[in-house]
């Protein structure tokens, strides 16, 4: 079923551009995946980000992982040389690599390095990797120029790239702001690493998803007449 839609999409559009409704569906599914993960954590496993950040983050990335990879692999670049399965595989490879980058970034910015925080930090970086590198890797593959254009220059080109670029930036910036309340002496449990940062990242991710929909819409509007 996935395959048929994928071929249909590629038949309509050779480049990696998607229609507005599809973009909406993708983002909605990603958002629902996140909500579902939080719901499972709360009602089935009866854990919460505040009480058990490590396992909650684990649950989030495990549930979100298939959704993101399967969805974004549909919009892979260079369809002729790259099968759907290969795109999925790229996504899985990108997960630990992106997690390592996020891990190092978090440590540089001041995440605690004690042993007791290690599982939390690892799970957090896996989640961040899912927000940032996994979709990009499924879609773009190992094209260094594209990666550079999207992540270093923030110049997305085409509606799919908007869907990759903006949520990734949103998650990182949200996480960055999420670290701000950590030193305050309110003595709330959510001020612990990585809870507030995860909240910030998820919020940033969701906000940027909505924004990216808007951008994709605007991009499609300006693109449609030309195609006709």
């Amino acid at each position: 079923m996935w395959k048929t839609t994928a071929t249909k999409a590629s038949a309509i559009d050779g480049s990696s551009s998607i229609s507005t409704s599809e973009a909406f569906t993708v983002q909605l599914l990603c958002g629902f995946g996140l909500a579902f993960a939080l719901w499972v954590a709360k009602n089935i496993c009866s854990i919460h980000l505040v009480t058990d950040p490590s396992n909650t983050l684990l649950l989030i990335w495990i549930i979100e992982l298939p959704i993101v990879i399967l969805l974004y692999s549909r919009y892979r670049r260079n369809r002729k040389h790259c099968t759907y399965l290969r795109a999925v595989g790229r996504g899985f490879v990108a997960l630990p690599v992106g997690a390592a980058i996020n891990f190092l970034g978090a440590i540089a910015l001041g995440a605690p390095v004690t042993i007791q925080y290690l599982p939390k930090t690892v799970n957090w970086s896996l989640m961040m990797s899912l927000f940032t590198t996994v979709p990009a890797s499924s879609v773009l593959g190992s094209s260094w120029a594209d990666w550079r254009r999207i992540f270093a220059q923030t110049k997305p080109n085409g509606s799919v790239e908007y869907l990759i670029c903006l949520p990734a930036h949103g998650a990182i910036i949200g996480g960055w702001f999420g670290a701000w309340p950590m030193p305050l002496d309110w003595e709330r449990p959510w001020q612990e690493w990585p809870i507030s940062v995860s909240y910030g990242a998820i919020t940033g991710y969701l906000v940027a998803m909505v924004l990216s929909l808007g951008f994709a819409l605007a991009h499609n509007r300006s693109y449609l007449p030309k195609r006709d």
Binding site: L104, G105, I107, A108, L109, G110, P112, V113, T114, I115, R148, F151, A152, Q153, W176, A179, P183, L184, D185
Partner: protein, 952 residues
């Protein structure tokens, strides 16, 4: 602006056209800080003098031995005043609010925490009892330590009590406890261990309990209870002090309106009931407590949230309950009675008087009959003093009324009191640099002279002439007492003005001058050329301003100040990530950017280690255990590595320097400077090797190595600095300006580095290496930015982002090297590297170099690298100097802005709970840092800027 500046630039010749803004900034900053500090940091000198019994002969008053026939026997152990009580029980209830003690009918509304200490009210309202409740006013700072100091010394402790105890909290000033011990009284203490810190050797016996854990409501109190009641049966003490902490802790954790608080108060009520019962039962004639006085008091109040420290009404208002167990003396004359009486809920008439805590030490000394503490400026409180007044009534067998006898005695005691206060004020003003103003002194002197002449000419004669009738003497006595009151009130008022009240006008004018200096600095940056990167709102220089703004605003919260190192590192890493983005875009210098991020990680580690050290000494920090410490303490291999690695790195540094000198063609002054630095490094190695247990051989005799090698290194550094300063005379004409600048900077840095590394200890080489790497990365990455525009910028000025990064990195280094903004964060050991004995100036200089070496001295002196490594087409001397001056002003600006915010924060939070614990030390560090930055900038400006002979 530019037009206005034009004539000025023309009129200034040579290098001064570049550097005058820095000197003006220095002046402005010094002025602003001087004004602000005068208003904010109240200081008081501790005098090393102690009162003695014999001193009384210098006073004009009637002392016991010549107190004529009224005294039955002069060998009753009396000293300055006749003892009225022989034993004293002081129960201190920490953070006792006034409304815990006073009946709720004194307040508009009854609250759940009122009327819980019923027993005090009952006893004081009982007919014929000599017990009284006082509303006591504490003086800020209302923290336990300062209050205990104030209560025992009778003075007004300030934040900076300049004295002999540097670091240790023990009170060396003359105080009540010292006088008690001096005069053969035995003091028994139980409860809060702050007392044993303040008076380490004074107590006959003590049962201290740790006051550190705020969450523990009971340990201290239970310890007190265990020892208090049994002690009441013992004879081996004269003064018993029992300090309960539960109410303070309950307030901090739960607030005043909470069940634990009410439970605590009920518990206290029970204890007090038992204590009063025990004392009463033994107070009969010949009983153990015949002449015992009980005092139940708070050291300060608290707000409803349980905070204290500031000068708010809830914090300064506390209570004193005093009770004498003999049948009472007749009431004191009504003009000295300040009490207000009301019926409480049960219909008892409760009277409450008021007193100042300042008066406590003097009054208690007078009651026990010991000399008043030398620095006491309190007045003997008539009502509290009257509670013990029965004793001397017995001696007077005349027909004089009791209140009359009391007045005679009180006038004499006040005479002693006033004489002692006057003596203190005179000696204080003579011995301290910032004493009272001459106006104030003359006012004090004139009021005292008036009272004294009145005493000498009329009252004294009347008192000695016992035949005179009571009618004649009464108005004279009253007048005399009023005059002494007047004098003592004047002194107390002036002392409060000087030692407890911030001078807002001075503080605000200091802040305004700081703002003027900031505006001036901004204009000075803009004077020559427009700022770089003004291309768009999302340019990288905007980020520099944003980072600066975040850092400055973070000082408005105590939490961010506490974790300032982490905040600085967070911002530094953020800037590093942004640089990495640029590097990826340009596809060059990726290694440098990544290296910089790795360096941020290293900084992060060492800041965390620093925080662990801080946690060990500071009550604010929670416990962090760092894995680095765990590892080093676990395995001997790591200890070995930890000892060897710094030495290897030092050798590496020396090698780098050697290569640098070999490669380029240096003139001899520079060359020899840098070569001798290598020699210094080797000497440091030799100095460190004996420390190293695992290497285990001794290269030099211990005694020589310990002190002489550091001194030789200091000497070499001084020589290098001299050589470098006069090296400008051997001007290279063929070298271009940039190369010259680089060589000069290198020479200057290498002259300073051995001293800084030596003082920093084993971590020194690591941090030096880290700063070299960090500096190198910042320099290289700056060039990415320059190249980003595609053309070597000919007109653009220095990039604010690099300067900002440079300064953020410097701040991070401060915290990396194990410092933090508190006085226990100073590494006092560094002051004694190479010297055994203490000489204030020398040791202060060493301590300053250790504290600010990596974070101010080296970064400021190394700043020319930023300019010299920039790629641009315009190579004229004028242009480069203009850029250098701009870079220096920009660096100064970033320091000035953060300091201004720290000062603003101190001003806003001056009544905050943690003002003395947190904000004031931060203020001191920032201010010293700002002035040092300015001084080194000015010095650098003299050194780096050559005369520009002609316009090239």
């Amino acid at each position: 602006m530019a037009r206005k500046m034009e004539p000025r630039r023309k009129s200034l010749s040579g290098k001064w056209q570049y550097i005058w803004p820095m000197w003006l900034t220095l002046l402005l900053h010094v002025l602003a800080i001087f004004l602000f500090t005068r208003g904010f940091l109240l200081t008081r000198n501790e005098l090393p003098y102690y009162s003695n019994c014999a001193d009384i002969s210098q006073s004009p008053c009637l002392f016991s031995s010549d107190h004529l026939n009224r005294t039955t026997n002069s060998s009753n152990g009396s000293c300055w005043t006749k003892p009225a009580i022989t034993r004293l029980v002081i129960i201190v209830l920490d953070a006792l609010r006034f409304d815990f003690v006073a009946p709720s009918s004194f307040f508009p509304e009854a609250k759940p925490w009122m009327d819980k200490l019923q027993v005090l009210k009952m006893v004081s309202s009982r007919n014929g009892s000599s017990a009284r409740i006082f509303k006591a006013f504490a003086d800020p700072p209302t923290t336990s330590l300062q209050r205990l100091k104030g209560l025992t010394t009778g003075g007004l402790p300030t934040f900076v009590d300049v004295g002999n105890s540097f670091g240790a909290p023990a009170i060396v000033e003359d105080n009540l406890i010292h006088q008690l011990v001096q005069n053969g009284k035995k003091v028994l203490m139980m409860g809060d261990d702050t007392w044993t810190q303040l008076f380490p050797h004074h107590f006959e016996r003590s049962y201290p309990y740790p006051s550190f854990n705020v969450k523990d409501l009971d340990t201290v109190d239970n310890g007190c209870i265990d020892h208090l009641i049994p002690s009441l049966y013992e004879e081996d003490w004269d003064v018993l002090i029992s300090h309960f902490l539960g109410v303070d802790h309950a307030g901090h954790i739960f607030g005043v309106d909470s069940n634990p608080m009410i439970e605590k108060l009920k518990q206290y009520n029970n204890i007090l009931e038992r204590v009063i019962e025990e004392l009463e039962s033994q107070s009969g004639p010949g009983g153990l407590h015949e002449n015992t006085m009980l005092i139940v008091m708070g050291d300060h109040g608290q707000t409803l949230n349980g905070d204290h420290g500031g000068g708010g009404a809830e914090e300064v208002e506390t209570a004193v309950f005093a009770m004498n167990f003999r049948k009472p003396a007749s009431s004191i004359p009504p003009e000295f009675d300040s009490s207000t009486c009301r019926l409480d809920m049960d219909g008892n008439n409760v009277c409450i008087s008021s007193m100042q805590q300042l008066d406590f030490a003097a009054t208690i000394s007078a009651l026990i009959g010991i000399p008043f503490p030398y620095g006491s400026i309190g007045r003997i409180n008539p009502e509290l003093y009257a509670l013990g007044a029965r004793r001397w009534g017995l001696g007077a067998s005349r027909e004089l009324s009791e209140s009359h006898v009391w007045m005679q005695n009180y006038a004499n005691v006040l005479c002693v009191n006033s004489w002692q206060v006057k003596r203190y004020i005179d000696v204080y003003s003579a011995s301290s640099a910032v004493g009272f103003s001459s106006d104030d002194l003359s006012r004090i002197a004139s009021t005292y002279a008036q009272a004294e002449s009145h005493w000498l000419h009329s009252t004294r004669k009347l008192l000695l002439d016992s035949k005179s009738g009571s009618d004649a003497i009464l108005p004279t006595l009253k007048g005399q007492i009023d005059e002494y009151f007047n004098f003592l009130a004047t002194v107390a008022e002036l002392a409060r003005l000087k030692w407890t009240e911030f001078d807002l006008k001075l503080m605000i004018s200091g802040i305004l001058i700081l703002f003027v200096s900031i505006i001036f600095q901004i204009l000075a940056i803009l004077r020559g050329m427009p700022l770089a990167g003004a291309s768009g709102i999302f340019s990288i220089s905007t980020l520099a301003y944003v980072l600066l703004a975040i850092r400055a605003c973070s000082f408005l919260s105590n939490s961010y100040i506490l974790e300032e190192g982490k905040v600085a590192n967070f911002l530094l890493a953020t800037s590093g990530i942004v640089m990495l983005r640029y590097a990826v875009v340009k596809e060059k210098l990726l290694a440098e950017s990544l290296g910089f991020l790795l360096l941020c990680m290293f900084c992060q580690f060492s800041i965390e280690v620093g925080l662990t050290k801080q946690a060990a000494t500071s009550a604010f920090m929670k416990e962090h255990t760092s894995w680095i410490l765990n590892i080093t303490s676990g395995f001997p291999v790591w200890e070995y590595v930890a000892e060897v690695v710094p030495m290897l790195i030092l050798i590496l540094l020396a090698f780098l320097l050697y290569k640098a000198t070999n490669r380029s063609s240096f003139k001899w002054p520079w060359k020899y400077t840098i070569r001798s630095t290598i020699l210094s490094y080797m000497l440091i190695l030799v100095h460190w090797i004996p420390d190293c247990n695992s290497i285990g051989f001794v290269l030099v005799p211990e005694s020589i190595g310990r002190n002489y090698i550091p001194r030789i290194i200091y000497g070499i550094s001084l020589g290098q600095l001299l050589l470098v300063s006069f090296g400008g005379l051997f001007e290279d004409s063929y070298l271009d300006c940039k190369k010259n600048l680089i060589i000069k900077t290198m020479a200057m840095l290498s002259a300073w580095s051995p001293t800084v590394i030596l003082l920093a200890g084993k971590q020194g080489p690591l941090i030096a290496f880290a700063s070299i790497i960090g500096g190198y990365c910042i320099l290289r990455m700056g060039n990415t930015e320059g190249g980003a525009k595609g053309r070597p910028s000919s007109s653009s000025a220095i990039d604010p982002f690099r300067v900002m990064q440079w300064s953020l990195f410097a701040v991070s280094l401060f915290f990396c090297s194990g410092h933090w903004c508190a006085f226990d964060g100073l590494r006092y050991g560094a002051a004694f590297v190479g010297f055994e004995e203490f000489v204030l100036v020398r040791q202060a200089i060493l301590l300053t170099i250790d504290t600010f070496g990596f974070s101010i001295i080296l970064p400021v002196l190394g700043l020319p690298f930023l300019v010299a490594t920039m790629k641009q087409a315009n190579q004229t001397k004028d242009f480069i100097y203009m850029q250098l001056s701009q870079a220096y002003i920009m660096y100064g600006l970033s320091t000035a802005i953060t300091t201004t915010f720290a000062i603003l924060c101190v001003t806003i939070q001056r009544r905050h709970l943690m003002v003395w614990g947190l904000f004031a030390p931060k203020f001191v560090f920032d201010v010293v840092g700002l002035v040092l930055t300015d001084i080194f900038t000015c010095w650098a400006s003299l050194y780096y800027f050559d005369q520009v002979k002609d316009d090239q």
